[in-house]
């Protein structure tokens, strides 16, 4: 039994045991359900082995929503713990585990897959392509992300959660101060899903450069595609740094090296440095696609073309470049001199300029527009003032000398939630609602959606604005409790109330999906929002080949030209279409890497070696596999087009 002792959790708690039971029961229910309804074959053929960018996109979105609820539950637990002084809901250790999990899950396993999922579904459609450049690699990207996410999510029931914060600073994360395997889980979960993300980056750069419809010059791409291109360039430049840092961290913890040790020639601060060399560009990996989504939505629902298209593109390019020049602002207080801090202070403030340009462009797009306040538009309109507050507090934090006051307080926590929630989360909710009819053929109920929106916005303001005040008053971040004499109690109770409203908002969103599946009318047509770009020019729902005939475009709003300027999108005749085959290799490889990661976490070397051999065997097999894809015959395409209501002009 000695072997199994390592899997025990170091800090047991009734809630964790309850979760174990819940996980086992849900797993049994899923397996039993799939077997009873005989859905295993369907699941394997249509989803698990698919190389269709649309289905992969939907799988990303489902994972992101599930992780949103996991991370959200952690957030509510934290707010409960802090709601009043000397609370005893969570102990210090459990609180550490909860905020670490909340951060990692929300950034890596909620925001990233949400962004990549929407890119997967929408970008090929927006540029008039049939799929991404490397469909099988795309499937592998998804399954690696999924394997990483699952590895991270089992940590709290097998072996113990990581507890050194999502930033995982050394020396706290070293063996000396974090003895459980938690941090090993952090290293391997992020490593596996990070490699998946890196491959997504390469895949989408090639797709956008190589597979655009005829006539779509770079400066005629829709803005979401532009944001996706720039985001993926940042991914390709930033993620290798994370890969290396994680590997060095793994070596330190499991093989006794001293990269981040305090002695032996190592340097603990170097982890923080490498982490933020990746981490700051990561912030823009999340926010730029959000900007792209808002640009699409604001232009559509103002019925105007986007104001300042060129300046929008230029500002995104500038932001992506500057994002690599600012990382030291995350640790102004670490002891470097005034020269360094001044340099990074100035570069940080410089980012506010292109971002400001974008804010004004959105405002001017709405100026004199015929605004329709649908749910996606409401989120976009709320985003502008709320995000501006987040940006302004960001400039406050960028002042190095003032940062000594704000650093590691709730002020910082308020700031970055103020940018991430209205910036990223609202964009994802808006994008999901906006493109929902494209994916599933019906509109999410607007009335419930608006209720959810108001709960979300009011809840957000109540939850996070008080933190600015308590932060300035000195409430430190990541403190699991405080005494009554600090006076933080009432404002924290307000935050808790806000968190409760946000929880209601997300329950309403989940209910809305359920409600709309049952009740929403299905005859919404192919273009329910009167939109402008190419993804709405095909049928609804989208046939697997996307476009029967490759569209020809001559502006960034091809569909609008088609509707208003009688531009013909689809010239030529229907021909046979080349499509990629499904493949089981990606999910098998990800499964093997999951075993590899899990065994590595617990240093079970024989299993690690076997998994590594199996992984390389899969690569070898793929290299020699003869797979030229398949053709959908012209007759079959015509038949499908008829079924969807006739060929498109």
């Amino acid at each position: 039994m000695e072997f199994f002792e390592r899997f025990a959790i170091p800090h047991p708690d009734p809630m964790i045991y309850a979760s174990m039971v819940a996980i086992v029961l849900v797993s049994i229910a899923i397996v039993a359900g799939l077997t009873y309804f005989k859905k295993w074959g369907y699941l394997w053929d249509e989803w698990l082995t698919t190389t269709d960018h649309k289905r992969i996109g939907i799988m990303y979105l489902i994972s992101a929503l599930i992780m949103l609820f996991r991370g959200g539950a952690d957030a509510v637990m934290m707010r409960v713990q802090l709601s009043s002084p000397e609370m005893e809901f969570l102990n210090a250790q459990h609180y550490n585990e909860v905020f670490t999990t909340h951060g990692v899950v929300m950034i890596f396993f909620m925001a990233m897959p949400f962004v990549i999922g929407l890119m997967n579904y929408i970008v090929p459609l927006q540029i008039g392509a049939r799929d991404v450049a490397f469909p099988r690699l795309n499937a592998l990207s998804f399954w690696l992300f999924f394997a990483g996410a699952m590895l991270f999510n089992i940590s709290f029931v097998i072996g113990g959660s990581p507890d050194a914060g999502w930033t995982n600073y050394f020396p706290l994360a070293s063996n000396e101060f974090s003895q459980s395997v938690g941090v090993n889980y952090y290293m391997w979960a992020l490593q596996i899903s990070g490699i998946g993300t890196l491959m997504t980056g390469i895949n989408f750069i090639v797709t956008i450069f190589r597979m655009r419809a005829p006539g779509m010059k770079l400066m005629k791409m829709p803005l979401f595609t532009w944001s996706a291109l720039i985001t993926n360039v940042i991914i390709v430049f930033a993620f290798p740094v994370l890969t290396v840092a994680l590997l060095m961290g793994t070596f330190d913890r499991q093989f006794g090296t001293s990269f981040f040790a305090t002695g032996n020639g190592g340097m603990d601060m170097y982890w923080a440095n490498l982490f933020w060399v990746w981490g700051h560009p990561e912030v823009y990996i999340l926010i730029l696609p959000a900007f792209g989504i808002y640009s699409e939505i604001i232009s559509t629902f103002s019925e105007r073309n986007l104001y300042g298209y060129k300046s929008m593109v230029a500002s995104m390019v500038l932001i992506s470049l500057l994002s690599f020049f600012v990382w030291v602002h995350h640790f102004f207080t670490m002891g470097q001199g005034a020269l360094t801090n001044s340099i990074f202070s100035i570069t940080t403030m410089a980012i506010a300029i292109p971002t400001g340009i974008k804010i004004f462009n959105w405002l001017l797009t709405m100026w004199k527009g015929k605004i329709r306040f649908t749910v996606p538009m409401l989120y976009s309109v709320a985003f502008i003032p709320l995000f501006t507050v987040g940006g302004v507090t960001g400039v406050m934090l960028a002042m190095a000398s003032a940062d000594y006051q704000y650093h590691n307080t709730m002020f910082l926590v308020a700031h970055f939630h103020n940018t991430i929630i209205p910036g990223v989360v609202y964009a994802m909710l808006a994008g999901l609602t906006y493109w929902w009819p494209k994916m599933f053929g019906f509109i999410l109920n607007e009335r419930i959606g608006k209720w959810a929106f108001w709960f979300n916005v009011v809840g957000f303001v109540l939850a996070f604005f008080p933190m600015y005040i308590t932060g300035l008053d000195g409430q430190a971040r990541r403190m699991y409790t405080y005494s009554e004499s600090t006076g933080f109690g009432p404002l924290n109770m307000l935050s808790f109330a806000g968190a409760g409203l946000m929880a209601i908002a997300f329950i309403l969103i989940a209910y809305n999906i359920f409600y709309s599946i049952k009740n929403s009318p299905r005859n919404v047509g192919d273009d329910p929002w009167n939109a402008r770009s190419l993804e709405w020019a095909t049928h609804n729902p989208v046939p697997e080949y996307n476009f029967a005939i490759t569209p020809e475009v001559n502006s960034s709003q091809a569909l609008w030209d088609h509707k208003k300027k009688s531009h013909t999108l689809f010239k030529g005749k229907i021909d046979k279409i080349h499509m990629p085959n499904n493949s089981g290799i990606p999910i098998i490889m990800a499964g093997i890497l999951f075993v590899f990661g899990f065994s590595f976490v617990f240093s079970i070397w024989p299993a690690v070696i076997i998994a590594a051999i199996a992984f390389f065997s899969c690569m070898l097999y793929s290299s020699f596999e003869n797979d030229h894809g398949r053709y959908i015959s012209a007759e079959e395409v015509k038949e499908t087009e008829e079924k969807f209501g006739g060929a498109k002009k």
């Binding site: 170097y270 060399v277 690599f324 470097q336």
Partner: protein, 93 residues
């Protein structure tokens, strides 16, 4: 026959071998640490350029501009990262 013979590549191959020998000399010859590092850095960068231009055919297709832009951009990001880290972690500590 003359246009079939890849003179450029053969010269490049000889040149890259030469660079390797120079880099290797750092190990075999007795020199100061800083001189050794300088030689290694210089030969490494030249070696990388030779590989990109001659053996990965960086400048031979229509993508020439894209490829060189990417290379310059990568070099810029790498240099900013390295010198920024040195500044924050070593020089200005």
């Amino acid at each position: 026959m003359k246009e079939l013979f890849p003179l450029k590549q053969v010269n490049g191959f000889v040149f890259s071998l030469l660079l390797t020998v120079v880099a290797l000399s750092v190990y075999f010859m007795d020199m100061s640490f800083s001189l050794g590092m300088t030689i290694l850095l210089v030969t490494a960068f030249i070696q990388a350029i030779v590989q990109f231009v001659l053996f990965m055919h960086a400048g031979e297709t229509d993508d020439k501009r894209t490829i060189y832009t990417t290379l310059y951009y990568s070099a810029l990001i790498a240099l900013v990262t390295i010198f920024g880290s040195l500044l924050a972690m070593v020089w200005d500590m």
